[in-house]
Amino acid sequence: MTVAVREELAAAVECRGIRHRFGETTAVDGVDLTVLEGEVFGLLGPNGAGKTTLIRLMNTLLPLQEGSISVFGNDVRHAKMAVRRRLGYVPQQLSIEGALTGRENVMWFARLFDVPRSERRERVDASLESMALSDAADRLASTYSGGMIRRLELAQALVNRPALLVLDEPTIGLDPVARDSVWQRVEELRDATGMTVLLTTHYMEEADALCDRIALMHLGSIRAEGTPDELKSELGPDATLEDVFRHYTGGTLEDELKGGLRAIRSSRSTAHRLG
């Protein structure tokens, strides 16, 4: 895809001059970012890079301190409800209501997004079906495996037919088989609907396999942006995304992951939830 073609596409998300502080800590430090309609865009970076904060600013969870964000032309400061209606959001944690069945979980969100009563049952069934959960739909969600929970969350997020699907670390804490199945579903979705997908990850292979374009985030700012191939070829013929990361940050993603209590705590709590 050439730069000229890209400019013709409409922007799904546009961020300008984003800065966000939590007390003394600056989590996002001057980010400009455009996600185009119909692409799978990956925010790649270690824990603490500011990816989740950026996403929480886009989806109206956090109040915008500095800069501007529009989602399909809706300003996140002034048109919160319009932004929320266009979004499907899957947070980092495995977040379902275990005391409800899979179907009830999806039906709940269909109601909260005002899916018309006449279409509700059909849309809920279709969402569950697209995530291969039809057979398990009437079981309590507390009996689901980690991979199934993640797919149920995707079904929940899709029941609204969002224009933009936001996935925050969609495969964190999942075993390789479950991770593959989530990747496969995201790819199928993109092929079937042309939906815009924004995902964050710290897995290089995930970004490489799924994303049309990626932005490399480190310590609150974007260090590099482009298609995975562009980023790799800038460094040489055999470069991997791991090399790209090292080139722009001076460290390896592995080092970053090992360091920091936050990283350990978050992986532990995910392991705990998966029980």
Binding site: F22, R56, N59, T60, L61, L62, M81, R84, R85, L87, Y89, V90, P91, Q92, Q93, L94, S95, I96, E97, A99, L100, T101, E104, W108, F109, R111, L112, F113, D114, L140, Q156, R273
Partner: protein, 254 residues
């Protein structure tokens, strides 16, 4: 936007009913404490006539107080539940649906009401079995259920407000335990206001639980009560509770 309110509140109530239908054990475990109050405390004090309740048997006087108490105990749990939902990520997702914060809180408040109704029905049946002379007038029973829902809605908002301030489950559990007993004892649930020392009487006067008990006694047992005042106080309390809890709820998402 306003017309979405009833649909959102209805959705949260429905989800609560679905949860209850999948796990009924809580209904029974939560019934144990009110039954102990009625059977042990109630029966004992009924016999020794230590508390002056006029011509009314003490057990009849006590039953509406225990109904209000079981609603209170159910509702106080809702702040802990909302912090649990925050930790599990469910709240985060709810907050990015097109649901106004106040509709979310109102929905939760009425879910507390639903759970309180389920509880109250159990206590009503036990009271009737113990020989409490309850009304059979369906309108009065409906009125009593209405007041229980308002009470549960207010106390759940109080709990969610504290959740929005302390932000941690263990802290809230401590505070929840710290406030439920004083709310219960500094009310007219166990004894008439007339025998209270002056300062407890003041506490009872500003305690919404007292108005809930007053209305329940009037409706279920037929003692003299000021129903318009009782309903009025609880309605105002719910409006204030929903407003403050809605303002604080976003703090949980940060």
């Amino acid at each position: 936007m306003w017309r979405r309110y009833p649909s959102r509140v209805g959705t949260f109530c429905l989800v609560e009913l679905q949860k209850l239908s999948h796990d009924r054990t809580e209904l029974f475990t939560r019934a144990v404490q009110p039954i102990l109050w009625l059977v042990i405390f109630g029966e004992t004090f009924n016999r020794i006539h230590a508390i002056p309740t006029g011509n009314l048997p003490y057990l009849d006087f006590l039953a509406p107080g225990i109904i209000a108490q079981s609603g209170l105990f159910v509702a106080i749990f809702y702040g802990i539940m909302i912090i649990w939902e925050r930790d599990s990520g469910v709240l985060t997702k709810l907050l990015v649906t097109p649901t106004p914060r106040s509709a979310l809180i109102l929905g939760k408040a009425f879910s507390a009401g639903i759970r309180a109704i389920a509880q109250v029905i159990v206590v009503l049946i036990v009271s009737a079995l113990l020989g409490v002379a309850l009304t059979y007038n369906p309108l009065k029973i409906l009125g009593a259920i209405g007041i229980v829902v308002l009470g549960a809605a207010f106390f759940s908002c109080l709990s969610m407000t504290i959740a929005g301030i302390v932000l941690k489950r263990d802290r809230l559990m401590g505070i929840g335990q710290m406030i439920t007993m004083p709310l219960f004892f500094a009310s007219n649930a166990l004894y008439p206001v007339s025998i209270m020392p002056g300062w407890v009487r003041v506490l009872s006067k500003v305690n919404p639980l007292s108005y809930e008990v007053d209305a329940l006694r009037g409706l279920l047992i037929g003692t003299s009560s000021n129903l318009p005042l009782d309903y009025g106080v609880l309605l105002v309390a719910v409006v204030l509770g929903v407003t403050t809890a809605s303002l604080l709820i976003s703090r949980l998402a940060r």
